[in-house]
């Protein structure tokens, strides 16, 4: 092999740079977010597991049902009837957006545009 010294040194440098993010971040996993729930003991629209995994789909369906079909009452698995509204139903309990919604969204680096329009009274102090 010609120039084996240079080639091997180059390879070593390349591998070191390419794997830099992995060994630099080793053992420094960001802690799991702990969203704060204000209303302990109260039940959410659906079960905790369902809300955790599927709240985004539920919100999309709620949006279409309320806005496009004009039907604003939702009967959940437990048979309870709930008024469909992000701002007036969800955020009445989860009124601490910065300590609840934002916690996981920031962890997962997700920027949902819900809050371009919907808001909680506390949050609105920033711009009102």
């Amino acid at each position: 092999m010609y120039d084996s010294g240079k080639v091997i040194a180059g390879l070593v440098i390349f591998v070191a740079i390419a794997t830099f993010p992995f060994w630099f971040g080793m053992g420094k996993a960001a802690p799991m977010p702990k969203p704060e729930i204000l209303t302990k003991g109260q039940k959410c629209v659906e079960s905790k597991e369902y809300m955790r995994s599927t709240h985004m789909q539920l919100l999309n369906e709620w949006r279409d049902w309320a806005l496009r079909d004009g039907k604003r009452l939702y009967e959940n698995e437990r048979g309870e009837k709930i008024y469909i509204s992000l701002q007036n139903t969800c955020m009445k309990c989860h009124s601490n957006k910065d300590k609840f919604c934002d916690k996981c969204h920031e962890y997962a680096s997700i920027k949902p545009y819900c809050w371009d329009c919907h808001y909680v009274p506390k949050e609105s102090k920033k711009w009102n």
């Binding site: 659906e46 496009r68 604003r72 939702y74 008024y83 469909i84 701002q87 007036n88 329009c117 009102n128």
Partner: protein, 262 residues
């Protein structure tokens, strides 16, 4: 190892079945379609309409009750420049509201020419804004209300060009900038920059069994809201007893807002 045709088919079949099962498991969580319905006491109509009685509207000079009520209920921002202003219901003069008859017939009493005509989205039967919207962000509900889904609006402003009544406004700036220091209605969202907005005939209030905010706010009883399809409704009674105009009828849009002039 050489695979026989028969073996290959068996393995492929088993793998396919497994894959289908896994895919089903993936999508199971999404469609937990429980029931959705109208809330109890919601006002449900077939063809919502508004009658504006100009004999009563002009009575109190400088009255802005309906406009203020709407601005508050829907968190409508205030911007000074005409290009940026947002309005769902506002006043205009006879000449601008009835552009056609006012040019054809100049012999109209001065008194009428000076009346503060209230204008808003006409919630047309044949809405040009709906026809041109490329994303179906604006659509006509079965009850006649021309509604907007701000989640879908891409801000192309075709609807603004299509609307012959100028009932639509574009949010050139973050509307929240125009709400600084204003009392907010915490039950209603704001809009975001880059969407078009307009009057929604208070769908969110109808769902709760309430009349539109402007109708409720008018102390003179000049605004009447009701179902055109119901022959016993208040609006039909008014229209059968009085001669009412609609804006630009020759365009064929068939507005749902009627004006009793005199």
């Amino acid at each position: 190892m050489e695979l026989k045709r028969r073996q290959f088919l068996k393995i492929a079949g088993a793998a396919g079945l497994l894959g289908a099962g896994a895919a089903q498991g993936l999508f199971e969580g999404t469609a937990q379609a429980s029931r959705v319905m109208h809330p109890e006491g919601a006002l449900i109509g077939k063809r919502w309409a508004m009658v504006i009685d100009m004999r009563k509207c002009g009575e109190k000079e400088g009255c802005n009750d309906c406009i203020n009520a709407c601005n508050f209920v829907h968190n409508i921002p205030h911007f000074d420049t005409p290009k940026e202003e947002i309005k769902w219901i506002w006043k205009d003069e006879y000449e601008h509201v009835f552009t056609d008859i006012s040019t054809l017939d100049p012999y109209v009493p001065e008194r009428i020419k000076e009346l503060p005509f209230l204008v808003m989205c006409n919630h047309c039967d044949n809405p040009p804004c709906v026809r041109v919207c490329p994303t179906k962000a604006t659509f006509r509900r079965p009850d006649g209300i021309v509604a907007m889904d701000y989640h879908r609006c891409i801000g192309c402003r075709f609807c603004m060009a299509a609307c012959p009544y100028g009932s639509r406004n574009f949010n050139w700036r973050d509307p929240r900038l125009g709400l600084k220091g204003r009392k907010l209605n915490y039950e209603f969202p704001t809009r975001m920059r880059g969407v078009v907005e307009k009057c929604n005939f208070c769908v969110e209030r109808l769902a709760k069994g309430k009349m539109p905010a402007c109708v409720e706010a008018c102390k003179e009883g000049a605004l009447t809201f009701g179902d055109l399809a119901d022959p016993n409704s208040e609006v039909r009674k008014l229209l059968s007893e009085n001669y009412a105009l609609r804006r630009k009828p020759q365009l064929g849009t068939k507005p749902s807002v009627f004006y009793i002039i005199a």
